[in-house]
Structure formats: C-alpha cells, structure tokens
Symmetry: C2
Subunit: 330 residues, 2 copies
C-alpha cells in the first residue's frame, strides 16, 4: 500500500467493481453479473443454496489473514456446504461490507483469492453476483449455489444403524494451524503479529501445513461428490469440529454415531474438537466401498448421540461464535 | 426489553434459531432450513439469484427503524431485484451478524418483519436458509432466489428506440420519508430521536405515508411480473433514484432514455433523485398496453444517456454509500 493508492471511500461502487471483475473467473451463467440479478442454469430443476459469513474479529484477524487468504476461505467454506449435499457448485454471490479506508488493492487481491478457490476446488464455479457497501466492520457474506445434476440430495438425516461412518478430508489440521497462530504469531501482550514468509520458514513442515490449512481451507469437493455418487446415506461439512457435527448428524438421523478413537489419528482430542477443517462426515450403507477413511459405525439410538470407544462423549463441542469470541480483532 | 431478557451473546446459535424458526413462513422447498444447504425447486431449470446487504449506519438507524421494519425492508429490497428480472421470488437466505448485546426479542421481531414482507409481497416465498454470527456492526445480508417459470428473463439491456418508458410503483416517496426523518425525528444536534406512535400521529397524511414507505418499502412485485408477462423489453428495480437507474438502463441498452418531466409528478426533482422506492423502470415495445404509467420514450443513443424534456440530465445521480455516508449511526 502506498499513499497514492486509492481507498474504496474515494471511489464509486462502479469504479471498485471495474477494478475486480476482470480478476474473477469468467461467468458461466446465462445472465452473469451486472443486472438486477443473475440467471443460473440448473438442468434438473433443483438448486442447492447456502450462505455463510466471515466477520472481522470473531472469524479472522487482518494481521494474520491476507486479502487473498480471506477470498480463498470465504469461497471454500461455502463451496463445502454445497458439496455436502452432493451438489456441484456453480455460482457464488459475494456481499462485501468494507471500511471506507480499505485500499482498492485489498479488494483486488481478495478477488484473486476467490478466483483461486473456485479454480482449485470447484472448476466452472464463478462469482455471478454480489454487493458492495460501506461498514465499520469488514464483513464478507457469501452465498453458494449448486446443481444436483439429477442426483438425490444427501441429507444429514439419512444415516441408518449399521452404516459405516467415514471422514473425507482432514481432521484437526485447521485447529492445529490456529494454535500455531496463537503460539507463534502473537506478541508478549497476546496481540497478533503478521505472518511473514520469514517467520513461516521457521515453522516445522507440519506446523506450516497446518497454518496453510487454517488460512486457506481446502475442502475436498470432488471427493465429496464422489462419495455422494458412491451411495452415501448422509453427509455434512465438518465445520465446527467432528464431535459437534457428528452429534448434529446423529440427532438429525435419530441414531447414535459410535467412533473409534484409534481411527482419529495421533491426537483424537484435536480431531474431535478442532473446527474449520471443512472435510466431510459421510455414512455409507453396509458393504459399500465408501470413500475417505472409516472412523466408526452408526448404531441404534442409545442414551447419547455420540460415543467414542463405547463411552458417551462429554467433551467440549466446538466453536460457537456467540459464546467464544473474546471481542478482539487485530 | 427487560433485564431478564436474554441477549444473543448469552445463547447458542441453536437456541437463537429455535426462537425464530417458528415465526418464519413455512418452508416450501424440497429441503428447507437445517441442513448444510437448502434444495429449491425451479421447474424450468433456471434460478434467478441476487444479494443485497443492510449495514447499521449507512443503511439504517436503529433509533428510526424497528426490528420489524428492518426485517421487512431487508426482504423487500431483495425481492424487488428478483422481480425485476421477471422472476417469482421463491426463497430468501438471511445472514445476520449481530452485536452480542442484541436482545433475543430483536431477532424474533426481525423474523416477523421478514415473514410479513414475504406474505404481503411474495406469497409462497420463505426463508430457506441463513447464518448467524457475532459482529460489532449489525449487518443483514440477504440473498433472494426466484423462478422464471418458463419466461424469458427481462434484462436492463433490452430497451430499443421507439419503446415506451414506464414506471411501475412510486417515485420519490421513500426519499420524502427520509426527509421527514431528518427534519422531524432529530434533536437540536441532528441526532436521531425515536419514531414514536404519538409523533407519527402528528404528521400530515402524506408525510406519514412517505415515512412508512421509507421504513417498509413495498415494491409492487406482482405488477412487475405482470409487466414481464405483458412483453416488457427491459426492466430494473429503481433503488438508487430514477435518474441514476435510468442512466444505467440506457447505458446497458445503448440507447437514450428521454423522460417527460410533467409525467414525474408534483416534484420531478425528488422523483428523479430520490432513492429507495424500489419501484420498477420498464420499457415496452411500441403499441403494447404496458403496465404502470408512461413517463417517456426510448430514443437512439444521443450525446447523453438520459434527457429530461429534451435536455441532457446533469443533476445529482443518487445515493452511493461510498461517497455519501457521513459515518453516523444512531
């Protein structure tokens, strides 16, 4: 950023949009950005729709996340919710509320992050609409839309006793990355300090990888669609930690999910409690080959929705922004 | 609000949702709220999608707008963008970012406003998904989705020389209502004061009606769909004032829009410059019966995109949040 760089407060909405539209993936829609609304093709007559918001403070620190990271993450966490239904992501709508001293380069690099996430995770998905407004609090509200392409949607409520419980994707990596941020990228007062390339180079390979997953989650979208095609009976995005999300799936299906701690990796506690991995919890009928790796089985509903090694799970459930945010920003 | 009333900061996301879901219109979707994403039916294989955000400060004052008003307005301004394409609104996704001291009753009454807007403006449209998070700045990001039901979408770019220019809905009423707020509901320092029933009762009938339109805009959705069915060649929501939006339609269509000031009511300046009416600017081919009232004609592109009584329009264009917000809240 230089003194000469314009801020969004000095530009009109149209000028800001002209600065980012050419950095976004090309529209694939019958009517793309620029009219009152987009028109999207969903050949089988059904559209999958979800929305998720990232707020400066509870959801990210600008000291830690680059604009590129934020664009990538805002896309990824929404793409994963579409894929969790067994649907192919086709479009994002991106509503940005920006402080008026935000440099234009922030918006442009944010757009690069959106574009990179679409290209890597969901090729063909484009930003087909959005909204820009001014706010004291940087807020990113993304809606993702998807096409089922004739498939049956995979709900949370479809798990049946005897089904195998699988995970597609990683467990605990994003949480490990968050710990790296708090332990390695804060000063003596606990305030965040920037994640510089030099500082990252000093991390262990495992910590560096975990940090990358925290800043730029990579939900395995294609594998989730393959799981749906392979006959998944239930599926959901693991965003708030395996324990909380497995409990939700169990409650929705009226079953007990019984997990095997030995299948949860070296740190079962982190795997159970850590949020933001955006992998997928999937159940498959008995005998199906499945996808990802098996971590347990679905049982008739017992006294608890979630058991680990046969014992009802009573650990902490996961991140809840209304309980857990400490009001810090950075 | 009483001391005993819980705030959203004291409740989990699930508890907050349980307090509002029963106040929303019943889901009409194949898969409604509660899973990773909703699944919506769009029988002709195309979905119309738009998003618009209301931010505390630039977009509303809590001293003036009740939670019901905000729910109503957040729905209305998005429903109008769907209808402007000639599409029937079928679903809203509502992302709320709330300060943690927000009382639960705020969210419940906000939901009542959403429900009332759907029932009045777009029966059958329901809130099929959403997101709740915490923020220092109350932010309401709504996505609206619609079905074209086999119709051709009506774009901004379809106006042709010789077409008649019509307005469906009101011009300048919401702006008049905003003036009422600034003139009648501020104290000596210019700070907003509450809009009480007693104070409203002292307004002239015209001012009271304009205030109502500012706080709860009522886009004529059914009339917009009728205009599309009657052969509209172009249509758009008039959200930023007739002058700015007519200029946009003219630029998109490569034409000049020529307006007749005498057709713009008693105060053509307010009709041209006032925003937030959320009526519809529509063009019809020569000889069509049209809808709403005729305010001008489409001409071959001349030196200006917009002319009024034959003179290029050079007045102020309308509201732009990046230029116009004074950083106040209230």
């Amino acid at each position: 950023m230089t003194d000469a760089e314009p801020t969004v407060g000095e530009l009109s909405e149209g000028q800001i949009l002209r600065g980012i539209l050419d950095r976004l993936p090309p529209s694939t829609a019958p009517v793309g950005p620029g009219d009152d609304a987009a028109v999207l093709a969903v050949p089988d007559g059904r559209v999958v729709a979800t929305t998720d918001t990232l707020v400066h403070g509870p959801d990210f620190r600008l000291t830690w996340s680059s604009p590129f990271d934020l664009g990538f993450k805002a896309a990824a966490v929404n793409l994963s919710d579409v894929a969790a239904m067994g649907a192919r992501p086709i479009a994002l709508l991106v509503a940005l509320a920006l402080p008026d001293d935000t440099p234009l380069s922030f918006v442009r690099i944010f757009a690069d992050g959106l574009a990179a996430a679409c290209a890597e995770l969901a090729p063909g998905c484009a930003v087909e609409g959005g909204d820009l407004t001014v706010s004291d609090t940087l807020t990113i509200a993304v809606t993702a839309l998807g096409s089922l392409d004739g498939r049956v949607p995979v709900l949370r409520s479809g798990a049946r006793p005897g089904d195998a419980v699988h995970v597609v994707g990683e467990l605990g990596e994003a949480d490990r990355g968050l710990r790296v941020l708090f332990e390695r990228f804060t000063d003596a007062t606990g305030a965040p300090v920037p994640v510089t390339p030099d500082a990252r180079a000093e991390l262990s390979p495992g910590d560096e990888r975990a940090l990358d997953r925290q800043l730029r989650p990579r939900p395995p979208i294609a594998e989730a669609l393959a799981a749906a095609a392979a006959g998944a009976t239930a599926m959901m995005d693991i965003s708030d930690g395996l324990a909380l999300d497995a409990t939700r799936l169990a409650e929705a299906s009226g079953v007990t999910v019984a997990l095997d701690a030995a299948a949860l990796g070296d740190d079962p506690g982190q795997a159970l409690q850590g949020g933001e991995d955006h992998g997928f919890l999937v159940t498959f009928p008995p005998g199906a080959a499945g996808a990802g790796r098996r971590i347990g089985v679905v049982e008739e509903r017992g006294r608890a929705p979630l058991v680990v090694d046969g014992t009802p799970y009573t650990g902490r459930g996961g991140w809840d922004p209304y309980r857990d945010w400490d009001a810090g920003r950075g």
